[in-house]
Symmetry: C3
Subunit: 321 residues, 3 copies
């Protein structure tokens, strides 16, 4: 899937579909813009009028209360009008095609689609077909990408480590099925970290994983050694079957993050997780709630990062005064 579609001729962000093809400068602009929104959450009135009168549609073909909530809050705090559409239970039941649904909504003069879909490439496909004044934000498409999640992770890393140069980042778990991991790996490399390691059993690594710019490892002790950042992935139980891994407890023994294993990382390493966490499956409660965990800060940063991306795409489409 080409990533050029998400940029204007001037190289500005028009859609936000994937981290691929975005250069370090643009990713840094997103992080800087998010920084200006991050402080706002402490204000008495958590609202700015930047997107007043804009209509943002949360188009969720796959249920996700938490992700929908952060996008809804981000839009509301920019003073946009938000319309939630849960399409799983909706007019597709009447046999309407995806494109007909999109064209109908765009005829109502909406300004942005936030799209969550179980199929890889769905947001990309929609962006190819929407009217030129509409922006599409990918809120997770199949096993392909979850770029706003990756950017909030980058924001959180920069918040704690100040810079990306020289960092060793370990991503642990089901890399094979994770759209989050895929987006993180591209972002980390674009932002210039020293090393991205992926740690997983062979059955949970993609076939040509090395071409992604990572070091694949199968042992936690080796993988976490001297790491600055440890990112645990959610074990997508619903996507797994017995062919991939023996049991939850066996997985936890080998790849779950415990206080003992975390000692292999640098003493000031931060522990991240995209949530929702499976306590005792991929991460011990004592680590998730421990001093090195920044899991809840990731959630906070998610609102600011999404406000930044919404504002940047609307601005580049000329949709702001």
């Amino acid at each position: 899937m080409s990533s050029h579609i998400q940029l204007t001729d001037q190289g500005k962000l028009k859609h936000f579909l994937t981290i691929e093809g975005l250069n370090r400068e643009l990713l840094t602009e997103i992080l800087d813009t998010a920084e200006s929104f991050a402080g706002m959450s402490e204000h008495q009135v958590k609202k700015v009028p930047l997107l007043r009168g804009k209509t943002i549609v949360n188009l969720f073909f796959e249920n996700s209360t938490r992700t929908r909530a952060t996008f809804e809050l981000a839009a509301t705090r920019l003073s946009a009008d938000v319309m939630n559409m849960n399409i799983a239970t909706s007019s597709t039941a009447k046999g309407e095609s995806l494109l007909d649904t999109i064209h109908n909504l765009e005829s109502m003069h909406v300004d942005m689609f936030v799209v969550r879909h179980a199929l890889s490439g769905a947001a990309h496909f929609i962006a190819q077909h929407v009217a030129p004044h509409i922006s599409v934000i990918n809120a997770g498409d199949g096993q392909h990408a979850h770029p706003t999640q990756a950017m909030l992770d980058m924001f959180t890393i920069r918040q704690h480590k100040k810079r990306f140069e020289g960092l060793k980042v370990a991503i642990v778990g089901d890399i094979l099925h994770s759209r989050v991991a895929r987006s993180q790996i591209v972002a980390l490399n674009a932002l210039g970290v020293d090393e991205v390691r992926v740690i997983a059993p062979k059955t949970l690594l993609p076939a040509h994983v090395k071409t992604m710019g990572v070091i694949p490892l199968h042992d936690m002790d080796e993988g976490l050694s001297d790491a600055d950042v440890v990112i645990m992935l959610r074990l997508q139980k619903e996507r797994m079957n017995s062919a991939f891994l023996p049991s939850e407890s066996e997985f936890f023994r080998c790849f779950g993050l415990t206080e003992a294993k975390l000692k292999r990382a640098k003493s000031d390493a931060i522990v991240m997780h995209p949530g929702p966490i499976n306590r005792g499956v991929e991460i011990a409660s004592s680590v998730a709630d421990g001093p090195q965990s920044v899991i809840l800060q990731q959630v906070s940063n998610g609102v600011a990062v999404r406000m930044a991306i919404m504002t940047m795409t609307m601005r580049s489409l000329g949709g702001m005064a």
Copy 2:
């Protein structure tokens, strides 16, 4: 059902339940008011404060994402507060009667009910029982009426044909079960078109169809001949059974709109459909997406027309400054 209930003593629109009983002057006022809102969708800030502080309840006893969305957008762009209530899954499950639900909501000082219900006459029944300061808008009741859909269709026809006099309009498909067709026929006659033809197999026409002021025909070639406007109806598969028609492909062969059949109409005829469309059942994709199709403009106009009706009813109830 008496239509007088929807007018004030001064003949102003108080509820909007059916086209029946509304004269040409009032229908034209709706179209003119909608025209003032139609341009607004292009503005940077698509909002006017006309209904600020009003509470509009989308009371949907029958699921319809698309219709709910246009009403929600119309209300939001008038700065009203919208509350969506999907009653199918709600307190009626606790055995409360429809009237008790209505009286409870009106006790919360809401200003407008937008009602969708599977039973003919539901909106009318509610209008008879609400407090005098509340307006009821019919968003589709059983097989009875869908008057806002009919008015957006009239708006679209006037947009393209400038006037109603002299127009030949063909409505094709399942007239028998269609609340849309019923409302369109009344509106077209009130606005003074030359001829309304309905084209359908006999099993899909009401018994006394001629009393509705239409010419019933069973052949597409004859029916489309010299038509200025062709309105295709959705084949409500869920309402059909084998007694009414042989098969989808047989229906398409006889009554589906193809480019070849469309050639019988005037060369500048417009093609309309209330959506969602069944491609290849009642309409060929090449026609739905072709140069004569105004299907997506109907959707756009739907927001403006609903804004007009909401504003007019609130104004006549004295609910606006």
Copy 3:
């Protein structure tokens, strides 16, 4: 469950979880504040900017369209942003714990949780664990409490009877399973009514009912005699089984409120019910719709009382300018 958690060190309302532990002065402050909002529903613009920029989350683990609607309207009329989360069908399905859900939402910098839960103590538990700037409002927890309902009932009683001193109040029906009754009894005693009687078959009274400060009675004639206020409870059919009562019609014969039985009460007695009512089960239609019924006024007052509680908790947390 300790009630001190809901007060600040200065004795101001921080959370609203239960009536227990709140003194007469504070309850009166709620009623007085609600009074200032009650008139607002008549205004052209039913909105004040008191909670502008605040985010209020309706966290409903148990479905309740009606209660959710009154809280949504109350928040909207205070200009807060409302986010509805129906958790029954949501991320708890992904196995996330209640506390993880709460901590995630609070990381998004929300200001208030309105909580409905089938388990007694749920709102209390959440209040014990939220960040100090967040307020928790109990919108009904299991069979424990429904304090906003009790306060709107008190508001309605004061509206009609002016004072609580000297009043005889009869509560009729399934006291055993009713969180509403539990909260009402505490409130009525705190506000200084003369007598609270509970009228029910023995199987529907709690074991140590006398310790609650009520007079238990099993006969309607005796119970309603000279009452100033008659509160009928909803018969929670879904919670009942045959062990508790013989049949609906038998229940109505013994404990249903009819015009004849109501004659035992004072001639100016008011009849209340938390809704939704089961006509012909616990109350005759002629009484529910009769001149002594204030059931719909209770609903109206519910919006004003919830506005008052939301405003008071936000103010005591320093969240208002």
